[in-house]
């Protein structure tokens, strides 16, 4: 699958935060694909690929099921997405907390307490996340060492959405899930009408066909609103928190991703991390 398979429907524009912020089709998956179909080279698209937030909302929108995030990362790095395979040999449960959660020890402790039986991974691959985002090379030895540290884990919970996406591929034999999905059973009874629940878009959108049923059920049973658009795709917060709340009556905001909490400060409403709900 490549940019040449894009039919140009433009459904990706509807969910693209860069599109919402700029209304400039050049900075969208459709714009990149159309440009490449008509002769553009990687260097012609440097500004477009650099501007992509890698939120992954475009992937479940794409009727051609193009791997659009991989395609952006390849345009950035100039090389294919790094492939690796790990044979799982243990039964551990690991939490890869990521930068935002590690920076808040209280909330990290609360999250770990809710994740019964999980250990905090010593190496949560923060440098690998940065390399994936920036399109820089990940040394083979470093990637191998990181994955070896996970080889004893049968279940892995990952806070960083981009790493979650990569680990679902690299750890094919393990259960790799996001924090939101894992804690849903613990917090679902605490949500209520008037809450606005902010799904971590990277984690959700890379597995949207499987997850949509769970979140739709949560929305229906609790009466809360969510950052799901009409296509049932999680709208990323970056740069569009005001748009996400526009026209809604919200009493409380609950975020899955701690890094997105500050984006809602403008609303003047309580903003909680989902671990604080339980």
């Amino acid at each position: 699958m490549s940019h040449h398979d894009c039919s140009g429907c433009g459904l990706c524009l509807l969910v693209c935060p860069v599109w919402h912020g700029t209304r400039d089709v050049r900075l969208t998956p459709k714009g990149r694909a159309r440009a490449i179909q008509h002769g553009a080279k990687r260097e012609d698209l440097a500004a477009s690929t650099a501007g992509c937030t890698l939120c992954g909302a475009c992937e479940p929108a794409c009727p051609e099921e193009l791997p659009l995030v991989d395609m952006v990362m390849e345009l950035r790095s100039g090389s294919p997405f790094p492939e690796a395979e790990v044979r799982i040999q243990g039964k551990k449960k690991l939490l890869l907390a990521g930068r935002a959660l590690r920076a808040e020890p209280d909330r990290l402790a609360r999250t770990l307490a809710l994740l019964e039986g999980y250990e905090l991974a010593a190496d949560d691959g923060a440098d690998i996340v940065e390399a994936l985002e920036a399109g820089t090379t990940i040394a083979d030895e470093r990637l191998a060492a990181f994955l070896a540290s996970l080889a004893l884990a049968r279940q892995v919970v990952v806070a960083e959405g981009l790493l979650l996406r990569a680990l679902r591929r690299w750890l094919a034999d393990a259960s790799v899930r996001g924090i939101g999905e894992t804690l849903l059973p613990a917090i679902s009874a605490k949500l209520r009408a008037g809450d606005f629940y902010v799904i971590a878009s990277q984690a959700f959108n890379c597995d949207q066909p499987r997850l949509i049923g769970r979140y739709d059920w949560l929305r229906a049973t609790s009466g809360c609103e969510m950052n799901l658009d009409l296509q049932r795709i999680a709208m990323p917060v970056a740069g569009q928190a005001r748009w996400i709340l526009e026209g809604r009556r919200v009493e409380r905001i609950v975020v899955e991703d701690l890094a997105e909490r500050a984006a809602f400060d403008f609303a003047g409403k309580p903003v909680l991390h989902l671990a604080e709900l339980a």
């Binding site: 433009g10 509807l14 159309r34 440009a35 008509h38 009727p63 049923g213 009409l230 296509q231």
Partner: protein
């Protein structure tokens, strides 16, 4: 470049001369002075090849042309400056919304491509008056997204999430509720328009009415729609029912009966094959559905899903040599039915966000880089003959194809809007449209074949005195044949008066 090598050949064209199909490229006289003029006024003009390449074709993927430059619309004032400079320097300006045309209407064969999606903000929602004011480059889906937060919805819009409001108002806009609510263009209460000479004008049925009449359903000839005030309604999920037919004639008769009786809120026909035709009927309210069950259900000739499946299985069991057809039907059903019944869009037996459901299915199962969708629009009386003749053309060209039929309720007070448009001149009360879409699959067809197919469908329209939803661009050679010289000359005279340099969407109609 990925433009196919197989250009339309003159000998492939039935009925219209070669020069009427693809527009000639503008020769760029005056481009430098025009560019300088725009820069002096601070209008951003993008001339790099990568940007221009984005707009090289439309959703049809059979017409190709590169603009010399692209302007992303940002305001009416900016568009005014652009059009004034374009008049001065005689530079063509092609306006594009979602780019979902299929005949090259939104492809620029040189000159400027004006990308209206840069103006995509909702400006004001009036919940009491049930109206919305929006910038016209907005996609219907984005408008619905914003309206939904206040429990509102648009009236009718194309079953395509990335159609733009402005583009749709210029050509029509058909939904499965159009038999009852009319086309999208009839929702518009007022417009802000930038005329081809750069004046920014507010117009409606009561203010600058002549301009309003020409811009609505005007194929972009008389101005650029920059803002629109539209009627909206309270949002309702709908209850969808499907009936299956083996006869196109019976399905159309039932569709027209239901429409005439206002028996449902939504209705339309979608075929998988000549032997598998679906009549969809839907309701906004339980009361309306109860009335349908009481008074109309027994009058329908279609079967339920199970009964139809049994009947079809017996039909093919008795005709084993048609196993390929049966297999196609089975496979098509297996992928399409779940798509229309995805659980996240259904709750309590009701479908939410029909446009999302239909649009995603359309792109997933019908969309590809090349799409050919000729259509016919006729009066109610002529519709069955038009569909049967069009279907016969499909059968001769392609093994599999889809027909999509829907009615359009007309407004007698908008008859002046309908002049030289997709609404057939002899239609009263309701018009009907049918799209004929071959399932191209992985097969490779020459452009000669595709063009000949379209011409044969359009020839049916000429013979019947019909109209077309897509009569511009590559098919504009049919405009004089179907509407006559007198009406076309009348509109051409108005166009010349409004657009002296003939710069605005010049390759679409005239």
């Amino acid at each position: 470049m990925s433009i196919g090598p197989d250009h339309v050949a003159p000998d492939a064209l039935v009925g219209i001369p070669r020069q009427r199909t693809n527009a000639g490229r503008w020769v760029a006289d005056g481009w430098s002075a025009f560019r300088d003029s725009l820069r002096a006024q601070g209008v951003g003009l993008l001339e790099d090849a990568a940007t221009r390449g984005i707009f090289a074709t439309d959703a049809g993927g059979t017409a190709y042309g590169l603009p010399h430059g692209v302007v992303i619309a940002r305001s009416a004032a900016q568009i005014s400056s652009l059009l004034k400079a374009a008049q001065t320097h005689a530079v063509p300006v092609t306006v594009r919304g979602g780019g979902l045309t299929t005949e090259g209407e939104s492809v620029a064969y040189g000159g400027v491509l004006l990308d209206m999606t840069g103006m995509s903000n909702v400006l004001e929602i009036d919940e009491r008056a049930l109206t919305v004011r929006t910038q016209a480059g907005i996609f219907w889906s984005a408008l619905a997204e914003r309206l939904r937060r206040q429990g509102l919805d648009y009236l009718s819009a194309p079953l395509n999430l990335t159609s733009s409001v402005g583009g749709t108002l210029g050509v029509g806009g058909i939904d499965v509720n159009s038999p009852h609510l009319g086309c999208s263009a009839d929702q518009a209460l007022a417009l802000q328009v930038v005329t081809p000479t750069g004046e920014i004008v507010e117009c409606s049925d009561t203010e600058n009415a002549t301009l309003f009449q020409r811009v609505i359903l005007g194929y972009g000839q008389f101005g650029v729609i920059t803002e629109a005030t539209l009627r909206v309604r309270r949002y309702q999920p709908l209850r969808m029912r499907y009936f299956y037919y083996a006869s196109l004639r019976a399905a159309i008769a039932d569709l027209q009966m239901l429409d005439a009786e206002e028996a449902s809120d939504y209705s339309g026909i979608l075929t998988m094959m000549d032997k598998a035709i679906t009549l969809l009927v839907a309701f906004d309210s339980d009361e309306k559905e109860a009335r349908f069950e009481r008074a109309f259900l027994s009058r329908l000739h279609g079967a339920g899903e199970f009964a139809f499946a049994v009947r079809t299985a017996i039909f093919y069991a008795l005709r084993p040599w048609r196993w390929r057809e049966a297999l196609y039907l089975y496979r098509r059903k297996s992928v399409l039915f779940p798509e229309f019944r995805r659980p996240e869009f259904h709750r309590g037996g009701k479908m939410h966000d029909r446009t999302v459901v239909f649009s995603r299915a359309v792109w997933k199962h019908w969309g590809r880089r090349q799409m050919v969708i000729p259509d016919l629009a006729t009066s109610a009386e002529k519709f069955i003959e038009a569909v049967e003749r069009g279907n016969e053309v499909c059968r001769r060209y392609f093994p599999y194809y889809t027909l999509y039929c829907v009615g359009i309720k007309l407004r007698e007070d908008h008859r002046t809007h309908y002049e030289l448009s997709c609404i057939p001149p002899d239609a009263r009360g309701r018009a009907y449209g049918c799209e004929f879409e071959p399932m191209l699959g992985d097969a490779v067809y020459s452009r000669d074949t595709l063009q000949s197919f379209k011409n044969e469908i359009y020839d049916v329209g000429v013979a019947l005195g019909a109209s077309y939803y897509r009569f511009g661009g590559m098919m504009k050679g049919y405009i004089r044949r179907v509407f006559g010289d007198q009406l076309v000359e009348h509109h051409l005279t108005m166009k010349r008066a409004a657009d002296p340099a003939m710069i605005l969407n010049r390759d679409v109609v005239f």
